[in-house]
């Protein structure tokens, strides 16, 4: 049977490529017996959904979310030169 370490790796990999039949089966069997890896699998699904939302909506927050005043000044100047 797969270990938790191997299972986590395969679950993560399933987001990058299609797993082989034996790999899929191995994961399923492990998940039947392992709460922690079942949680991990749900977390990966959640992570994918959160990332997708993040990419689509660009939620606003306060951390580094704005151009600095210096950058604004610099870009304004450059645009004038090119305009």
């Amino acid at each position: 049977m797969l270990t938790c370490k191997q299972t986590a790796q395969l679950v993560s990999l399933s987001y990058d490529k299609r797993l082989s039949w034996p790999e899929q089966l191995g994961v399923r069997i492990h998940l039947l017996f392992c709460d922690a890896c079942r949680h991990f699998t749900r977390h990966m699904r959640f992570l994918r959904e959160a990332t997708r939302r993040f990419a689509l909506e660009q939620p606003e927050t306060d951390n580094h979310a704005r151009l600095s005043p210096e950058a604004i000044e610099r870009i304004t100047l450059t645009l004038k030169q090119h305009g």
Partner: protein, 189 residues
């Protein structure tokens, strides 16, 4: 679709473009430079703007290409060893003396989807992305945020697919742990 004067671009789109670049590069100075390059390229290509999309979408399209170009260059300048770092990063999460079980088993997050409606959650989410090692964050955003297919991403980054998979796995493990620590294990929200 109306097309505003370039002098208004910065005001109207500057911060949005910056955010877009910053969370895909995790480098403030570089993100600012790319915003500037985007505006310059847009200025030069102004006549070709067909108005089929919004001005914002058009600018983001230019920025996307600049981002990929930047990653293509900067990734290749780094030795591969540095990208892959050391194996132990994953090993420490598992107990080798007990069949590689989780040292800290992932918890039940109950109803995580609710978190997506919380502004506070997104703050934590961004902080967790910021806490990733830079190259991991860049590879992660290229695949997960830019939506590049694995092979395409590998071509851009100049690495083998197996290396990309390792980086992605590590990024996911770190993000998962970070979200659990800073959001989901902090009791009911």
């Amino acid at each position: 679709m109306p097309f505003s004067q370039p002098e208004h671009w910065l005001e109207q789109h500057g911060d949005a473009l910056y955010r877009y670049a910053y969370f895909r590069l995790r480098d403030r100075a570089q993100a600012e430079d790319l915003v500037q390059e985007t505006f310059i390229a847009a200025l030069q290509a102004r006549q070709r703007f067909a108005g089929r999309s919004s001005e914002r979408t058009w600018l983001i399209g230019i920025l996307k290409n600049k981002l990929v170009d930047y990653l293509r260059k900067s990734f290749r300048e780094r030795p591969l060893a540095e990208l892959i770092e050391n194996e132990s990063e994953i090993d420490v999460l598992f107990d080798a003396s007990a069949d590689d079980h989780w040292k800290n088993p992932p918890a039940d997050w109950m109803n995580p989807i609710q978190a997506l409606e919380s502004k506070q959650f997104w703050k934590i989410f961004m902080e967790c992305i910021e806490a990733l090692p830079v190259r991991q964050a860049q590879a992660f955003s290229l695949c997960e945020l830019q939506g590049l297919e694995g092979e395409e991403a590998c071509k851009v980054l100049g690495i083998a697919t197996t290396n990309l998979w390792v980086m992605m796995h590590r990024a996911r493990l770190r993000l998962r742990e970070c979200l659990e620590t800073h959001w989901f294990s902090r009791g009911a929200r």
